[in-house]
Symmetry: C2
Subunit: 211 residues, 2 copies
Amino acid sequence: MIRENEKIFVIDDDESVRRSLPLLLKTMDYEVETFSSSEEFLNSKQFNGSGCIILDINLEGKSGLELQDELLKNPYHLPIIFITGKGKVPESVQAVKKGAVDFLQKPFDDEQLLKAVEEAVAKSRNWKKEFDEQMEAKDKIDKLTQRELEVLKYVITGMLNKQIANELNIAEHTVKIHRGKITEKIGVKSVAELVRIAEQAGIQPLYTKIS
Amino acid sequence: MIRENEKIFVIDDDESVRRSLPLLLKTMDYEVETFSSSEEFLNSKQFNGSGCIILDINLEGKSGLELQDELLKNPYHLPIIFITGKGKVPESVQAVKKGAVDFLQKPFDDEQLLKAVEEAVAKSRNWKKEFDEQMEAKDKIDKLTQRELEVLKYVITGMLNKQIANELNIAEHTVKIHRGKITEKIGVKSVAELVRIAEQAGIQPLYTKIS
DNA sequence: GATTTTATAGAACTAAGGTACTATAGACAT
DNA sequence: ATGTCTATAGTACCTTAGTTCTATAAAATC
């Protein structure tokens, strides 16, 4: 199965939308779940796969744009396709600037929606892949002690062991021990791999200021 | 001077806009140049600094959206702020999805515009910085011979010289010679720096398929 | 045709990275 | 108190990286 684990969440207070969209989406083999409010969606069990959210702007309680702001606080979330009856330019601009994949005005045709969904799901796959890699990298970095992390930040600049030792006022041998622990814990055998993993985890190299 | 070299390009067929916007922008110490059509802008001497473009959607000849498409073909271009009389949601969504910083409907107040300009200029600075770094990295990579580039792609995976030698069916010594040339030409002294520069230049590591 | 660039390689050497084994000392937990 | 974790370090050893000198051969350039 190609689209394993991909799911579309429809959030709209209009019952006719909650009836018709799933029918359309299921013909394209998407899994679908519907909600009538932002709160109902937020209270549902969190979904970690890829997919997207089709979200009405005008909702009772928390509006679509407010829900978007809420979701943006998470490090990982699903791409959003907004749908609206009478859309205004400023809110559509805001929504898209914050990463929404599309902003469709009712009535929209099926083709338009499916194209947007396809784009959103593709984006979701990429986001998820990047996020998973980032998490994996962070998990590895988390195994390091404070001192090891410090040494790592120097190692990924390309500094020599003796330079790092000098910077930290310790023996070169001790730096070697730390490096050994680092590569062992992270499970790599080269500086090149350390540089990549550190970058994925958002660790910045610690360059010494030239004095 | 803080905003050295930053310039705002106003492209609008409405003469009153071409008169009033420069006055406003110059109070904020921006350099400004105006054009009455896309063609006029495209024929002007190209600008390599940072800044932004304020662009009317509805222009005679090439429209604002068409000019945006044109500019997107370049590896480097200025961020765009669209202005329009009667904006429609679909075109505003398309414009922003393609990277436009904002989409303002006339009449807009000065504050709104200046905020958008500030954001656009900040984005421009980042883009320019990234672009310049990328160019610098590519220039360095361009000095390498085909074979050296090939070796580099293996080096940045973290492979040992003897593994690379085996992969290429040459002597380990030859790999060392190539590496020496690579680090000399690129002007670095460590694998870590090679990994960074290769990444900036868009060079992908060449992992050997595990057999 | 002569010169330069590129790719190759051996021999010999220095420097740097990495790994034992051993050891001390403070911090923290059971 | 006893054990584990962390950070430190010396000695000794092996592996890997990098350079120098020499050398060959094909390709490109002048």
